[in-house]
């Protein structure tokens, strides 16, 4: 599995953004689609895509596209 491709696709599908919007500026509440409901849907989609169950603290800390990559290392997923 190409983890970066999967990670990016989840973001693009969850928030209806294009690939060029996947950058460090993409964070919770930075776009209308990444609201509370969008956040929960994105997390669920990541869990399904990577077959993981994330811990509560990690879901709370998952505040940006960039931060998410660091968090997923905890689940043995290297997004590079």
């Amino acid at each position: 599995m190409d983890t970066k491709l999967t990670y990016d696709q989840v973001f693009m599908d969850s928030f209806s953004v294009s690939e060029d919007q996947l950058c460090a500026d993409l964070e919770y509440n930075s776009i209308p689609e990444w609201d509370s409901v969008g956040h929960m849907a994105m997390i669920a989609n990541l869990e399904d895509a990577f077959d993981i169950i994330m811990e509560m603290d990690d879901i709370i800390d998952f505040s940006s596209y960039a931060e998410g990559k660091k968090i997923l290392e905890k689940y043995q997923l290297i997004i590079s």
Binding site: H39, M40, M56, I60
Partner: protein
Amino acid sequence: MVLSLNSEQLKEYQPNRYPFLMIDAVTEVEPGKHAKGYKNLSNNEWYFPVHFPKRPNMPGALQLEALAQMLTVAITTQNDLKGSITHALEHKVKFKKEVVPGDCLQIEAFVDSWRRGICEGHAYGYTNGEIACEAKMLITIPEIMEQYLPRK
């Protein structure tokens, strides 16, 4: 575990009250999975005289509310959720026929997923064996969902 709730018992799981309680009884509920029940429509409903004069019809918004309230019961009958208030997040609804005085609106609601305070579900309302309304719904118990949100 399958339960049934009469008109008073269901109030433990559905916090709406007159004039906004849109279900009369829950004939069958499997917590976290589905709930089934009905609402009887009488000439005495507060909205019939105004919606519309000489052609009473249950407002679509209230038909949808009935479906959502039944879905809520499917969720709040789970452990530790009795009395929880749910909020609507997103609904998609179709109305197929009028619901009029004398009808019994049979309602079936199904939980498609329940995860971290958010329920995806769907429901149908029937009168005389035919679908009167149907909806796909997203509802939440905010106190649960909000625990998972980034603090920014």
